[in-house]
Symmetry: C2
């Protein structure tokens, strides 16, 4: 629940609001004119098996609280807990739930549908993990149907037991199969919530963007969505191949003391034991396959999931899917390395900035500084210290390929707004979400009176225009051209939005790629919490 | 974090706002004029040992996110999750944290201090578990310093290892020792947050009220607080005696396979294993001592904790502590038994109500109905089906004794407001909290336009008046008399507040005491979530 100051009576009566879906009737809420349905079961699944439709029910089932989040292998206070306010929801393997915000329950309304796929890699998170994800404001402003969802993660979603029998053939993609099941549920039921099953936009951030990329390369998802948005979700990962994934599965069974012939036993092991065994096996695999920078994710089996488009090309079936792809100026560099020196970065003098640039970039410090000031002539040179070097290179590569291989357009953005916390901070990983969802006035670390209201209108309207028509342009922002193989055009979302042409090509041609080590912390600070840890 | 719609820039600069406390400097926030410090470490503790002061630190420590909650033996979606919106925060044994909301950082301001002690028995919960607990509005409206805190719970807070060595002498009261340490921290540091260490009100609900009762009977807490409020925190429990508690500890060691001579090993056992063993041992103890309705709580060792005042009398040292003690009309009967029949209770006809009364009260149904209509002539007779039979009898008994044994006055209230969810619901356990904290406009299930704003002003002002002067009366409400041995006067908080004299004495003389079994659910509903469950 995301409590907001109410001005009207919330409607939650025994028989109102009621919606009929496949399986039975659901009772939701009307909150300040928005219909909200929380915790709708879209599928059920046995552990390591493909999901199936939930059993039908008698009477009315309540859909007024969120459903369980998927179990995480360990959960602690997020490292970025202040900048990115979290909602840590209880976890359970029965986690195939989705939530809906809509302005209409008219079956003929055919509003655009926006399905949010949460981040946290393929490992952690939920559809309600961040306050930014709350769909009420986006639904209201855009008159769209917003859906968020939970699905199986980590070893429950992506442990590849295919070597142990046909029934586990897709266990390495079970978490993605949940996503497909959710999109099938949307196709079959969203009209009852005023939505158009023929106009579904999937959008996600970080791991959620990674999942959008996976769905593009998953034949079973074809036809279930029509537009796609990837926010800060592209970097250069290795593939989680069947070879690697089966190695992890074999190690997990071994740590659990389960013989291959008794593989069925793994379905009944308590999750915390399974997670510990899988973690150890995963660490072993990292040593066994040191050249492959894999993570928990969909297994590249060449059947359910066909592998990264950046390596294997885009499937022609997705050629007609328009896309928005972008990232933020600082991303994780801001999150982890903010306290390079005392005080606010905006109070540092030239000598200190030069010293820190040297420490950060070594021999190429001057070249980076020059290229940065060329790309961003009006910014504080200190911002170069917090420049993303992980997402933006991936985005540039991805979009370039996409513009060559697909018929539908792709638009690129950078979220560059300087945020006010600590006297000024470059935009971090996750910072754009509250602007997209029109929730930015609720987030302490990023609210700038006047500026925030205007920019969230612009960004929210762009996402909604895209969901509505396949083109993000609207009258309140400058013209935003799609990228072509010859023109790399980027919309910079900032106090003053601006479209620029290949403005950072030179900069990224010299920037080192990949996240750099975490800098020393200023002091005994717990800013942003500690590492995630288990009990 | 409880995101609210912001209208001003939040101040969170490297050097502002800073407060100096024992040990070092802290950096907090200024949110719409309120100073907020989250996650201040008030103590540290080794497992099963008494808490001690945190080590001093260099530089500035951040206090901008909440600290860890104490580990719960199992955590799932709360059964009352819709009516009582929860914030489920990450858990860790390092949990001795408190949060402060204040309007001033002037050391000489001497504002009243209100220390909130959370509920969840002595077993679950945290200082941020419910949205109702957020201290910003209460601090602002009352110009008071609000403190909320976390402390050790369940087997970490109350496992009695005293049989195994002097170093564990107080392990059965470690969780209460954390509360005492927090109050000592308040005494030593709250002036820096504008608070008056000589005017501290402790207030809590449910288990939090139980903890207030325990503190009254804990000599170490004497002088650390000056006023006390118990909301829905009195019922007839057994004592958790040393005999019972040592039996639980012995069983726990046994399930863990730890010999008494190796007792030190229990300090290093992973929590989830400890919790499983302790749960089993606790269940065994329930069988061994069937006549004692004990729970996890402070061990009655006659040294640290002196036992329930209702059985052993109030300690004369507490005679000068003014108190407010009260409960809600429905309490758990509303939470668990709402769906006795189809539709809203307010749509049921007389025949149906009579039938349900018969099912609920058997032979005394007519007598209860008559006494109920005598106590509450204007209420729907159906409300008698959801009448609390657990807290109110305890409150009546407790207050009667207190008025006889203490010099300071005690005031009694009943929160009787009918809440709008499901077409009308009697006030449930926890329902008054958002009114006390002036957060009721944020809670979906209980917001009634116009009514809520007025009643939360009245209740919040009464609590603040009490914290300020020791007397809850203020000009916006009817005169509220303290209870005397001869006059049992109760303030009914409702659309129209009203003081009544022994209005339900007859009713409770015939009501069965103790919670009744949970009624059948209407349907496949997940209203209010399922039982708490572990992974």
């Amino acid at each position: 629940m995301f409590p907001k100051k109410l001005t009207r009576q919330v409607i939650c009566e025994p028989d109102n609001p009621i919606v009929e879906v496949e399986g039975g009737r659901l009772r939701g809420l009307i909150v300040e004119d928005t219909y909200i349905f929380r915790g709708i079961r879209y599928a059920e699944a046995e552990r390591f098996h493909l999901p199936h439709k939930p059993a039908p029910w008698e009477g009315v089932k309540d859909a007024i609280i969120f459903g369980n989040s998927a179990p995480e292998m360990s959960t602690g206070i997020a490292h970025d807990a202040y900048n990115v306010p979290h909602y840590y929801y209880p976890q359970d393997e029965n986690c195939q739930y989705l939530n809906i915000w809509t302005q209409s329950l008219d079956r003929n309304a055919k509003k655009p549908v926006m399905v949010w796929i949460h981040g946290g890699g393929f490992n952690t998170g939920s559809g309600v993990e961040l306050y930014a994800y709350d769909g009420e404001e986006l639904s209201k402003r855009g008159d769209v149907v917003v859906v968020s969802l939970n699905h199986r993660l980590n070893c429950l979603g992506y442990l590849d037991l295919s070597a142990y029998g046909e029934e586990y053939r897709y266990s390495g993609n079970a978490g993605t199969a949940d996503l497909v099941a959710a999109l099938e549920w949307v196709r079959d039921n969203i009209a009852a919530f005023g939505g158009d099953p023929g106009n579904v936009t999937i959008f996600g951030q970080s791991g959620g963007g990674g999942k959008v990329r996976v769905l593009l390369q998953t034949p079973k998802a074809d036809g279930l969505y029509h537009k796609a948005i990837i926010e800060s979700g592209i970097h250069f990962d290795g593939d989680y191949t069947t070879e690697v994934a089966q190695y992890v599965a074999a190690g997990t069974l071994s740590y659990l003391g389960i013989e291959p012939a008794d593989v069925k036993k793994i379905e009944k092991i308590p999750y915390y034991k399974l997670a510990r065994a899988a973690s150890k096996a995963f660490a072993d695999a990292k040593k066994q396959f040191p050249d492959n920078d894999f993570r928990w994710m969909s297994v590249l089996d060449g059947d359910y999931y066909l592998g990264q488009s950046m390596k294997r090309g885009f499937r022609p079936e997705t050629s007609g899917i328009p896309m928005i792809v972008g990232s933020n100026l600082g991303e994780s560099e801001t999150n982890y390395n903010h306290f390079l020196a005392e005080g606010s970065k905006n109070s540092w003098d030239d000598a200190l900035i030069r010293k820190l640039m040297k420490e950060t970039y070594g021999a190429i410090a001057d070249t980076v500084a020059k290229a940065f000031s060329h790309a961003y002539p009006k910014r504080n040179p200190a911002d170069a210290l917090f420049l993303d070097r992980n997402h933006r290179p991936g985005v540039r590569h991805f979009i370039n390929l996409r513009s060559k291989q697909a018929a539908a357009p792709v638009w690129n953005y950078l979220f560059t707004l300087e945020l006010p916390v600590n006297g000024g901070t470059t935009a971090w990983h996750n910072a754009e979400e509250q602007y997209v969802f029109h929730n930015a006035c609720y987030i302490e670390a990023s609210y700038i009176p006047g500026v925030t209201e205007e920019l969230q209108d612009i960004m929210c309207d762009a996402w909604v225009s895209f969901a509505r028509t396949g083109n993000p342009n609207h009258v309140k922002m400058p013209v935003w051209n799609a990228v072509t193989p010859d023109h790399y055009e980027t919309m910079l979302f900032d106090r003053k939005c601006e479209m620029r042409s290949d403005h950072d090509g030179e900069l990224y041609s010299i920037m080192p790629i990949g996240r750099r080590p975490v800098a020393r912390r200023r002091n005994a600070s717990v800013l942003g919490g500690g590492p995630r840890q288990s009990l």
